[in-house]
């Protein structure tokens, strides 16, 4: 696989279990030594120049911790300040900023063992971003969180990437994370990069799975179905009273033509073009590759 990530970009890394997402991130973070190929993060080899590279990167592995279990997060932050060589003034300013963004004021003085998963994850994020890393790897940052927790973390990631031009590589199985945060996705399967592009483009390429749903205001449902079937013999068209559902039309242009045809034939109460659920698209990409 081969790819570049620009400053301020949030890139989603997708793939089924065992595809190589975490391995890729660990190679980029300097944890694993690549058996072949090479990587450069801001011009540095992440493994051979591990310590210099570590100063530039931030990492959040959903199942590992920056914090010290028996102590409050503030103690781990104080330790990280020394490890990353931050001045006291810079550290305090940064901690204030992160505390405001993540709502850590009270949390960071409680023992880590007393924090809920969502609270701990917010504290972990602060640890990962404390030294103003230019590249951050987030591996399952919202795993196990409730809706509110996920929302808070997505807001934080979006805001910090936009304002500080931090490049973020996000690995997740939660496709809402991807939809809400990433304009670009990399899809991996069996260690190979099978798609590198925008999420929107990926969904468009799978437009054949889009469907149309119409609520008719007259008795023309069967006539409309006949005209659609004549034009697109392979389409699945279901009539349920005044409701019409059409799928399997094909390319995006055909969807537009089908909508025009329905509007010409029937009087409408409403009409909607439905994107396929993102899970279906991604599953199809995993199983059959990119169309």
């Amino acid at each position: 696989m081969s790819f570049d990530v620009a400053e301020g970009e949030i890139v989603g890394l997708l793939g089924p279990n065992g595809a190589g997402k975490s391995t890729t991130v660990k190679i980029l973070a300097g944890v694993l030594y690549p058996t072949s190929g090479d990587a450069r993060i801001l011009g540095l080899d992440p493994f051979e120049q591990r310590i210099d590279n570590a100063r530039n990167i931030g990492v959040l592995f959903g199942q590992r911790s920056h914090l010290l279990w028996d102590l409050p997060p503030i103690d781990a932050y104080a330790l990280l300040r020394k490890v990353y060589g931050l001045s006291q003034a810079d550290y305090e300013a940064r901690l204030r900023e992160l505390s405001e963004l993540l709502g850590l004021d009270e949390l960071m003085r409680q023992s880590v063992r007393t924090l809920s998963l969502g609270q701990r994850m917010r504290c972990e994020l602060a640890a990962a971003f404390l030294h103003r890393p230019r590249v951050v790897y987030l591996d399952e940052p919202t795993i196990g969180l409730d809706i509110e927790g996920k929302h808070a973390i997505r807001e934080f990631i979006r805001s910090i990437s936009r304002e500080q031009q931090t490049a973020i590589i996000l690995t997740t199985h939660d496709l809402t994370d991807i939809q809400e945060l990433c304009e670009r996705v990399l899809v991996l399967n069996e260690g190979a990069l099978i798609y590198d592009g925008s999420l929107e483009h990926l969904l468009n390429r799978h437009a054949s799975t889009r469907s149309i749903q119409a609520e008719l205001a007259d008795g023309s449902a069967h006539a409309t179905r006949a005209r659609l079937a004549e034009r697109w013999p392979g389409a699945a068209i279901v009539v349920d009273g005044t409701r019409l559902r059409v799928s399997g039309i094909g390319a995006a242009e055909d969807i537009v033509s089908a909508v025009s045809l329905i509007m010409e034939t029937a009087r409408l109460r409403s009409i909607t073009v439905l994107d396929p659920p993102i899970e279906d698209v991604i599953l199809s990409v995993y199983q059959h590759g990119v169309e």
Binding site: Y33, R64, L71, K82
Partner: protein
């Protein structure tokens, strides 16, 4: 200088982590007191039936040796010590090593400083109270002179350096032998026996005593304890300190070489 700042910061964090485990320390202190009392009495009984031991040590000397060796023991399985070793040795198994590698700190500095923090607290919370109890109950005496006491203190510090080197080598080996509990059991057994923590090395079978002296184990506990009881004095004591320092530096170099060789083989499975 920057590494020194990191070292003290990590050590201080582990002082705080260790102090957070107060109940564990009270347990460790109780167990160490009990162990020491049992060993002192056991060896007293053995000595009474062993002409070799009687020729080698007076009853008071042997009791002092055993009690001080337990105080100094760097293989002591105190609560904090055990937690730290399990963490260090299990870090490859658990994948926690990933978090060590993503920070701008040398792995050896990280590990030594964690152990330094725990050692400092262990000394204050377990070793010194144990020494005090046996000193006040008259089981052990004081070093012969102030100079001897200073040499003992230096020797304990150098013994820690050697033990930290040994622990680091064992922890690095878990990258290859991904069976950290087995390595840890081996470490404890070998270190307790061959460091002189359980018995003076001169009372071990000759071949085993030679093994302990040829390798660095004697530098961990036996050397400081022999200085305490006055078996090593003056130039002999200084020579023992020199040997400890050489082993300490040698272990740092060996640990560094082993780490550089093995780190490429680190595998962190899962997310």
């Amino acid at each position: 200088m920057r590494e020194l700042v990191k070292l003290t910061a990590v050590a201080w964090s582990y002082v705080k982590v260790s102090l957070a485990l107060r109940f564990g320390f009270f347990m460790s202190l109780g167990i160490t007191l009990l162990n020491t009392w049992i060993l002192v009495n056991l060896w007293d009984a053995i000595r009474q039936n062993s002409p070799e031991a009687q020729a080698e040590f007076t009853a008071a000397e042997l009791a002092t040796y055993i009690a001080v060796a337990q105080v100094v023991s760097l293989a002591r399985m105190s609560h904090a010590n055990r937690q730290l070793f399990y963490k260090a040795m299990g870090s490859v198994d658990s994948g926690e090593i990933a978090m060590d590698l993503v920070r701008p700190i040398d792995n050896q500095v990280l590990r030594y400083s964690q152990w330094l923090g725990v050692f400092a607290v262990d000394t204050l919370m377990v070793a010194l109270p144990t020494w005090l109890v046996f000193r006040l109950t008259g089981v052990i005496g004081d070093p012969d002179s102030g100079v001897q006491a200073v040499l003992f203190g230096l020797s304990v510090a150098l013994g820690w350096l050697v033990a930290a080197g040994f622990h680091y080598l064992m922890a690095a080996l878990t990258i290859v032998v991904t069976q950290s509990p087995g390595i840890n059991m081996f470490r404890v057994a070998v270190q307790e026996l061959l460091s002189g923590g359980l018995v003076p090395l001169t009372l071990l079978p000759a071949w085993l005593a030679t093994f302990a002296v040829v390798f660095p184990f004697h530098a961990m506990v036996s050397s400081p304890t022999l200085i305490y009881i006055g078996r090593l004095e003056g130039l002999e004591a200084l020579a023992a300190l020199g040997v400890q320092a050489a082993w300490g530096v040698g272990m740092i170099v060996a640990g560094r070489l082993l780490w550089l060789r093995l780190v490429r083989r680190v595998l962190v499975q899962g997310g």
